[in-house]
Symmetry: C2
Subunit: 301 residues, 2 copies
């Protein structure tokens, strides 16, 4: 099955009232926000990524889902594989760094051995509190679509991680994402819908539109790019589309009334309307959708 088909099947199971129909990246149970993410070696990270960076990313990507709900991190549960001493020690260093950086304590976890040579699989379940918890489904026709920060740096960083030349800032964006916790806190009580950008700006915007029962138009000319990204990949249409489909940005994507101005730095990149699907424009010009809007998990056949 594809990931989408599998999730449809999961929706046929009894769902918790706080599960939001599995349409959101986080659930709300007993006043707490809960979200879980898995990283797989060779899929979500490169086998020579430094173990400390893997630890950082593991925790940071779950905190990013808390950020999208406007939650304060309460703590994390970790499912970790034992490895060899050098890897484990470096991983623990990264874990100390990321938990200190975002003031998130350890709640619990499980540690397992893997068969020799198996790719590492790691999970993080993050718990947050005190969240306005806007869902992904609440966008309204006429809302503007906004995104924090810049898009594409992590995707360019992945290229560098697997061998392309390029600057350390882009590599760091891929390996050490910074969840937008403060921005999420400021935005969550006011926006109609919010998610993070994990699989790609276009696919995450498409999911917000679909979950809200709306169409969305995105002007790729407005997609915010860093100077480093422009130098690396170019700011022409091709570079912009690459940025918008590469994922791992961990910026916040949100829908808000057209006249509303966000209280944190963000860029207006599109608008929601009645209908379905994603439409791209580049300034005034219509642009065909790329074949791939972002990252979707394929089955292991």
């Amino acid at each position: 099955m594809t990931e989408a088909e599998f999730i449809v099947a999961l929706r046929g199971l009894p769902l918790h009232a706080g599960a939001r129909g599995l349409l959101d990246d986080a659930a709300v149970v007993g006043g707490l926000v809960m979200t879980t993410d898995t990283l797989v070696e060779g899929v979500h990270f490169v086998d020579h990524d430094p173990p400390a960076d893997v630890a950082w990313k593991l925790v940071a990507v779950s905190l990013s889902d808390l950020a999208a709900k406007g939650a304060v991190p309460e703590g994390v549960l970790l499912n970790l594989p034992l490895s060899h001493d050098g890897w484990d020690a470096a991983f623990l260093t990264g874990l100390a760094e990321v938990t200190a950086a975002f003031a998130v304590p350890l709640i619990g976890g499980d540690t397992v051995s893997l068969p020799a040579g198996a790719p590492r699989v790691l999970s993080c379940t993050a718990i947050g509190r005190d969240a306005a918890a806007p869902s992904r489904t609440g966008a309204q026709a006429g809302d503007a679509l906004w995104v924090t920060g810049v898009i594409g740096d992590a995707g360019a960083g992945l290229g560098i991680a697997i061998g392309a030349p390029g600057p350390a800032t882009l590599l760091a964006a891929y390996r050490r994402p910074r969840p937008r916790l403060a921005e999420g806190r400021a935005l969550a009580p006011h926006v109609h819908a919010m998610s993070d950008v994990s699989d790609g700006l276009l696919i995450d915007a498409a999911r917000m539109a679909a979950a809200s029962g709306l169409a969305v138009t995105i002007d790729i000319a407005t997609i915010p790019l860093s100077r480093a990204y422009r130098d690396q990949a170019g700011a022409e249409r091709r570079g912009r589309l690459a940025a918008a489909t590469s994922g791992d940005d961990y910026e916040l994507l949100f829908a808000a009334p057209p006249e509303w101005q966000p209280p944190v730095p963000a860029t207006r990149i599109g608008a929601f309307a009645d209908g379905r699907g994603v439409t791209l424009v580049d300034g005034g010009e219509s642009v065909a959708l790329p074949a791939r809007l972002g990252w979707e998990h394929a089955p292991n056949t």
Copy 2:
């Protein structure tokens, strides 16, 4: 690192107040009990175990940790790998069965692809409510040690799963454990300490004693064995020690004052005293500790 060394290192990180120093199998956060477990193909289950049974076991083992805290299951978050269509469909059938059997809804999860040929790794984080939540650390000198149900069936069932002849009841004990949720609810408000038996009766009893700062003596003559187990492995000392070290029982192990009688069927198998370590007796006779008290994860070297 060994699992024990790794957990010691994790204890050096900032811990949540509800994490219980990572000495327990569950944490208590905002009035909710939280526990997480990972199953690895080739480690926790056999690659030809039916996918529906893997799903059952994944959820059941986490619910067993809730049972040991006396919690009512609130729901589960699942970290699942996509596989081929046949495996996925059968897995989803088992998931429907176990969630219905124990009335536990789905809160959320994450679905990922694995590199081709990689062993499946699955995690379940279970959330429970309304728990007295006795810890593993509260046993007192003079307390009796009790266990629910019978011990050893699942270990014998593993032998059958990997090729030994034997009855379906033992195989089912291995593949479809039944968390002692009702027993846990009845016991939790009254006991001094409780955990489930997951890695082996002796090692789990040793952990309870160590976490409580006490010694424990276990009379292996009293370890409860099923008729099927006796027929399969024998009830002599060797069979009893095999039962007490094989794990996967998911019975409840608890410490309570010596005069107290549990409100559910259980067997008194030992006692706590000042001191350290585990002592085995067989009726009146002293018995040497086996080299292996149960299952401990080794690093993947």
